[in-house]
C-alpha cells in the first residue's frame, strides 16, 4: 500500500531531475542564509550554481557532527525564527548538544515520510498505534507520533518506560502497531511472557516499526516471533530529520530511502571518495527539502550500502541495507575492526545463548581483552558444569572463526545485563587512553 504513490513510484529519470532541482534550491538557500555554508562553499571553491548535475555533488564539502555542535544553537538555521515551529536536540552527553529546527513544512513532510512506512506495513486508518519511543527532545517519540497521525492511525503516546502499563495498554486497547527501539520491543515481549501472556496469541499486534539502534537478524526474528508481528525497520537521525528517512517495505531486503526528500551517498570513510552502489561505507546524506536546518553532505557515521536493484513493491526509491554499525562504534581490538552488531549476529546463531549481551573492553598489561557477558537461554539445561563450559567454548569458537577475535565469555545470571527502555548500552570500554568507545570517526 502506498501513501504518496506519485512520489514513491516516480520513474528514476524523473526522480533524478526532481532531486537535482531540489538540491540546487537547497544549496542556494544554504549559501544565501547560513554563514557556515557560505564559508564552507567558498573554502571548497564552489558556488551553488556549480551543481549542474547530481554528479557535481562530490565537489561540495562535507558537514560533520562537530560543525553542528559549533553552530549551537541556531547558527545553521536557514530561516528566521518566526518560521521555526519546533526544536529537537541530541542529548549532548558526548559533547555540546546538536540543535535541529523544523518549520511547519518540515514537520508535515516528516509526518509523510513516516506515514509511508506505516502504509508499507499495510496499516493506516483504523489502526491503533502505540508509540513507546521516548517523547521529548529525542526525535523518536514525536516523529513516530506525527507519522501515525498523518497515516490516519489512532495514536497512543505511551512514551517509554512503565513496561507493565505498556503491555496492559497493548492488550486492552487492541494495539496493532508498536513503535519503539528493538531492545525495548524485546523487553516488552519478555515482560509480557513473564506476566503469563503469549503476546503472539493474546495481543492484536500486527506490525512493529523499530529503529534508533541496530538489531541483528536473530534479534529481529526473536521479536517478530515472540510478538507474532511483522518487523519493519525504520532509519533516521535527528540531525537529518528523525525516524522516517528510510523505511522497510518487507518485499526485499533493506529500507527504501525517501529519495524525493534526501539524497544518499556512500563514501569510503578514509579517502572520503564516493563508492559505487552496493559497496559498504559511510552513509552521507544531503537534504533536498528541509527548510530550517538543511544539511549538505552530512556524514552520518552510519555504515551501510545502497541497494539499487528495483524492488518488487514497485517503489523506485533506492534502498539502504540495514545499518551494521557506526564508524564510531567500531571497536579496534588488537588491531581487528569489530562492530558490536557483528558480535550480536554470532550470539544469535548459537543455540542456548539469550540475545542480551554486554561487551567490556579493557587492557591487561599492554594487550586489549574483550569480555562478553551473556545469559543462557531459558530452556538450556545447566546442571552439569560441562554443559556450561561447552556453551562457552562453542560461542568463543564461533566468535574466533567469524570475527578473528579472542573473547572471554562469562555466563551471568538472568537480569544481570541491563534491559533497556531506550537505546541499550552494549559496550563498555575501560581502556584508559580513550575513556569512551574508540573509533575511526571524528
Amino acid at each position: 500500500m502506498f501513501f504518496q504513490e506519485e512520489f514513491e513510484t516516480m520513474p528514476r529519470e524523473q526522480l533524478r531531475e526532481l532531486q537535482l532541482l531540489r538540491m540546487r534550491d537547497t544549496f542556494k538557500r544554504c549559501y544565501d542564509n547560513v554563514d557556515f555554508y557560505k564559508k564552507a562553499f567558498n573554502g571548497a571553491g564552489v558556488v551553488p550554481e556549480d551543481l549542474k548535475s547530481l554528479d557535481d555533488l562530490r565537489k561540495f564539502p562535507f558537514t560533520v557532527k562537530q560543525d553542528m555542535r559549533d553552530a549551537y544553537p541556531y547558527k545553521l538555521f536557514a530561516v528566521p525564527m518566526d518560521k521555526v515551529a519546533r526544536i529537537h536536540a541530541s542529548s549532548g552527553t558526548t559533547g555540546q548538544a546538536t540543535v535541529v529546527g523544523h518549520t511547519a513544512g518540515d514537520l508535515a513532510r516528516w509526518g509523510e515520510c513516516f506515514a509511508r512506512g506505516i502504509r508499507m506495513a499495510d496499516l493506516g486508518p483504523g489502526t491503533v498505534m502505540q508509540v513507546a519511543y521516548g517523547y521529548g527532545l529525542f526525535t523518536g517519540g514525536l516523529g513516530a507520533h506525527v507519522g501515525g497521525e498523518v497515516a490516519g492511525c489512532c495514536v497512543i503516546p505511551a512514551s517509554s518506560g512503565n513496561t507493565k502499563r505498556q503491555i496492559q495498554m497493548i492488550k486492552d486497547m487492541g494495539v496493532e502497531l508498536l513503535a519503539c527501539t528493538p531492545s525495548y520491543a524485546l523487553l516488552i515481549a519478555d515482560s509480557a511472557i513473564e506476566m503469563g501472556y503469549d503476546p503472539a496469541v493474546d495481543f492484536k499486534l500486527k506490525a512493529g516499526i523499530f529503529g534508533a539502534e541496530p538489531s541483528s537478524d536473530g534479534m529481529r526474528r526473536e521479536i517478530a516471533q515472540k510478538l507474532g508481528i511483522r518487523y519493519c525497520d525504520v532509519y533516521g537521525l535527528s540531525e537529518i530529520m528523525g525516524p522516517g528517512v528510510a523505511m522497510e517495505c518487507g518485499h526485499g531486503e533493506g529500507l527504501h530511502f525517501a529519495e524525493d526528500h534526501f539524497y544518499p551517498e556512500i563514501i569510503d570513510p578514509d579517502t572520503l571518495e564516493p563508492l559505487p552502489d552496493g559497496e559498504w561505507g559511510e552513509l552521507v546524506i544531503t537534504t533536498l527539502t528541509r527548510e530550517c536546518t538543511p544539511l549538505v553532505r552530512y556524514r552520518t557515521r552510519d555504515i551501510s550500502r545502497i541497494i539499487a536493484q528495483p524492488c518488487s513493491c514497485g517503489r523506485t526509491h533506492r534502498r539502504i541495507d540495514r545499518i551494521i554499525g557506526r564508524t564510531d562504534d567500531m571497536l579496534i581490538i588488537r588491531g581487528v575492526n569489530v562492530f558490536p552488531s557483528q558480535i550480536e549476529q554470532v550470539i544469535a546463531e548459537v543455540p542456548g545463548i539469550a540475545t542480551q549481551y554486554q561487551i567490556t573492553v579493557g587492557t591487561r598489561g599492554s594487550l586489549d581483552y574483550v569480555e562478553l557477558a551473556v545469559e543462557m537461554a531459558p530452556d538450556f539445561v545447566f546442571d552439569e558444569i560441562r554443559q556450561l563450559e561447552g556453551l562457552k567454548k562453542k560461542l568463543a569458537a564461533e566468535l574466533k572463526s567469524n570475527l578473528q577475535i579472542a573473547v572471554d565469555i562469562r555466563i551471568v545470571e538472568p537480569h544481570t545485563i541491563e534491559r533497556s527502555e531506550g537505546k541499550a548500552k552494549r559496550v563498555i570500554d575501560l581502556r584508559k587512553n580513550t575513556g569512551t568507545i574508540r573509533g575511526i570517526g571524528k
Binding site: 545447566f382 558444569i385 556450561l388 551471568v412 545470571e413
Partner: protein
C-alpha cells in the same frame, strides 16, 4: 528418581547466601547442598523438602533455577560402601555425571547420583538389592 533443585549462580560474594535466604523465606528446608564452582560461576545442587515450591520461589526472585532428576541410593555407612556401589554402577555401563552423599548418623548414607544414559538405572539397582528410597523420604530425611 528424585527431584534435585539446581541453581545457577554467578561466582560472586553473597550470591549463595542470597539464594539460600530466598529459600528460607519461602519456608524451604534444605537436606543437602552441593556447589560445583568454576572461576566465574557455580551450580548449586540442592535436595530440600519441597523442590517444586523452592523452584517457584527462586524463579520468582529472578534466579535461573531448574529441577533435575537424580537417583538416590541408600548405602550402609560402612567402610567401602560407596566404593561397592560405584563398582556396581560401572557394570551397568552408564556414566555418572556427578554425585554427592549425605549421612545423618543413623547407619545409612544417601548417595545422590546424576546418571547419564540410563532411564532404568533405578530398577537395576533395586534388582541388585540396593534400596532406592522414596522421594518423600529423601526430601524429609
Amino acid at each position: 528418581m528424585i527431584k534435585q533443585l539446581t541453581v545457577f549462580l554467578t561466582n560472586e560474594k553473597g550470591r549463595l547466601a542470597a539464594a539460600c535466604r530466598v529459600l528460607a523465606d519461602a519456608g524451604i528446608n534444605l537436606r543437602s547442598l552441593n556447589v560445583a564452582d568454576t572461576a566465574d560461576f557455580g551450580v548449586a545442587r540442592i535436595i530440600c523438602d519441597n523442590p517444586d515450591d523452592a523452584l517457584q520461589a527462586l524463579q520468582h526472585a529472578g534466579y535461573r533455577a531448574a529441577i533435575t532428576d537424580v537417583v538416590a541410593v541408600c548405602v550402609p555407612d560402612v567402610l567401602g560402601g560407596l566404593a561397592d556401589l560405584l563398582a556396581f554402577m560401572d557394570t551397568l555401563d552408564v556414566n555418572i555425571e556427578y554425585g554427592y552423599c549425605f549421612v545423618n548418623g543413623g547407619g545409612n548414607a544417601i548417595d545422590i547420583l546424576k546418571v547419564d544414559g540410563g532411564a532404568d538405572v533405578e530398577e537395576r539397582l533395586i534388582e541388585a538389592g540396593y534400596v532406592c528410597p522414596k522421594a518423600e523420604d529423601v526430601y524429609n530425611f
